[in-house]
Amino acid sequence: MSLTNEIIQQRLTEKFADQVGEFVISYDMLQFSAPKEINLKVLNFLYDDSQLAFTFLTDLTGVHYPDQKGQELAVVYHLHNLKDNIRLRFKVFTSVEQPDVYTATGLFSSANWMERETYDFFGIHFVGHPNLKRILNVDEMDYFPMRKEFPLEDQTRIDKDDEMFGRG
């Protein structure tokens, strides 16, 4: 019997009870979240369980939601079960004051650089990461540029004097 979103959700709630939640199916992909303290337990369960077998980490990235107090930063894992060809999206949230999340490098070698990239741009501190330093930006940078407090220039602004670009 091939794996379906319903079975995954059922197995997860059996194992973690109400600790996992916010199950949504968006564009055919199951999405859920868990407290950041158990992110490794969830990933390990998804990896080791012979039925679930989410052994391929497709993508790992961060998102900043400045308006969610205490849960400003999200780490998003995209996992893939290659045997049954089903994907899922797993999120953990952390506060911006103490952005500590356990590293997934023990499970996936591919998480190494993806976590470095997430650290580089969002300042999420991956506890236990073997080499957590900036990867794409310069080492001297002292801020995390993908956070929303660094907005790009508003294209509709009118106070700028540059005739050459039609905004004079």
Binding site: Y27, Q31, F56, N85, R87, S109, S110, M114, F121, M146
Partner: protein, 406 residues
């Protein structure tokens, strides 16, 4: 020891040599730096530095309306820009719930497979260059030129194509494009065969690549390998088959796989994929030719909010004028939602993770760049190997700096 020469501390006791490979060495084919520790000519460790051409695409995308992001995707894997463009359009279409007509799908397949051939052609011939065979590279370049001429007929550009629109193409393919495609389909197989003869059983090339930079299937999966590099290790994962997009389910093709995951297998897999791509293009061209009547003129879906109206309508019709203005100024709010869509890019699974909060631009856009993910295995691949093996391993991985650094 002379007291006038001040050597760094520990440099007398040190038994290894430190060597900077890159960032601008011609053999790295892109701005990638590796600080190698060498014991004689054997590599002990490699410290990789990337990010020299980071251009903050993900941040830029947070301000831009969907149509303006296409130009950013061009500059990821610039050896196969149309593939990235089509992948991005399909992501938008998935978010917006647009279904494209079959003819659009088939035209897209033609373009995407041409791009795949161009991408693989570069990688395989560059491997030849790094093994000392320059002729093959120069010889096949003229066929990449033919592909670029086809792009030029379709969209007017060659390298950074910005091809297609949300819903389809900006204009129908003209007759010259199809003529050039026929010419390509006619001439290219002979050249590819000749190229293959030059390398495939070439003793020097085989000695340089067999058993060099190999990786097991388990390690490749753990490292997030996708595309030809994963298939060379023996895993038949291909996005075109696993999650078909753009009507790939209508085509008959096979997925070549290797066994040892070394440089030679990677070369062979790419070579076979080019033959498969040729067969897919032929099938798609037949399907395109089979359309008759009004269907034969369809080249885009009906999405007035995102697809620019015809210019003459803008001057004469009210709705067209409004849509034109809203699209150009990026005033259309995109629906809220989260979508992940991936296509089989030139070097692996190229994914787009788009979060929209209902504004005019994405709230967050993340590119899953295949070579960023698999390049981290490079140290493991070259440890214990010779310096010359490191060079050929790097070119066999098909690393594109633009994609890696985003």
């Amino acid at each position: 020891m002379s007291e006038h020469i001040k050597l760094p501390e520990g440099s007398i006791e040190k038994t290894t040599t430190t060597l900077n490979l890159g960032p601008t060495h011609p053999a790295t084919h892109g701005v990638m730096q590796n600080i190698l520790e060498l014991d004689g000519e054997r590599i002990v460790s490699a410290d990789q530095t990337i990010g020299y051409i980071h251009r903050a695409f993900e941040k830029l995308a947070e301000r831009r309306p969907l149509a303006q992001i296409t130009t950013l995707t061009d500059r990821l894997n610039y050896c196969s820009s149309p593939l990235n463009n089509m992948g991005w359009h399909m992501t938008c279409e998935k978010l917006l719930g647009v279904t494209t007509p079959k003819r659009v799908d088939y035209l897209r397949v033609i373009v995407m497979e041409l791009a795949r051939i161009a991408d693989h052609l570069i990688c395989n011939s560059i491997m030849g260059v790094d093994a000392g065979a320059y002729t093959g590279f120069l010889y096949v370049m003229q066929y990449r030129e033919l592909i670029y001429e086809i792009y030029e007929e379709i969209c007017g550009a060659r390298l950074t194509t910005n091809m297609g629109r949300i819903g389809g193409f900006e204009r129908n393919f003209n007759d010259i494009a199809f003529q050039k495609l026929e010419k390509f389909l006619d001439e290219y197989p002979k050249a590819l065969k000749e190229f293959e003869n030059m390398f495939q059983r070439n003793r020097i090339f085989m000695d340089r690549t067999i058993g060099v930079g190999g990786i097991s299937a388990e390690r490749a999966l753990n490292y997030g390998f996708t595309g030809p590099n994963l298939r060379a290790a023996g895993v038949d994962y291909d996005v075109r088959v696993h999650s078909p997009y753009s009507s790939y389910q209508d085509f008959d093709f096979t997925i070549p796989v290797g066994s040892t995951g070394d440089s030679y297998d990677r070369w062979l897999v790419r070579e076979q994929e080019m033959w498969q791509s040729l067969s897919i293009i032929r099938q798609a061209y037949q399907k395109v030719q089979a359309f008759t009547g009004a269907e034969a003129e369809v080249y885009h879906a009906d999405v007035p909010e995102y697809y620019l109206p015809a210019k003459q309508d803008v001057y004469t019709k009210m709705e067209a004028l409004i849509y034109h203005f809203k699209i150009i100024m990026g005033e259309t709010d995109i629906p809220a939602g989260e979508v992940y869509h991936s296509v089989e890019g030139g070097n692996g699974e190229l994914g787009f993770y788009l979060i929209s909060d209902g504004g005019r631009a994405p709230y967050r856009l993340h590119f899953r760049r295949p070579c960023f993910i698999y390049y981290q295995a490079y140290e493991e691949l070259i440890k214990g190997a010779m310096l010359s093996d490191a060079i050929i391993t790097m070119s066999s991985l098909n690393l594109i700096a633009g994609e890696m650094d985003a």
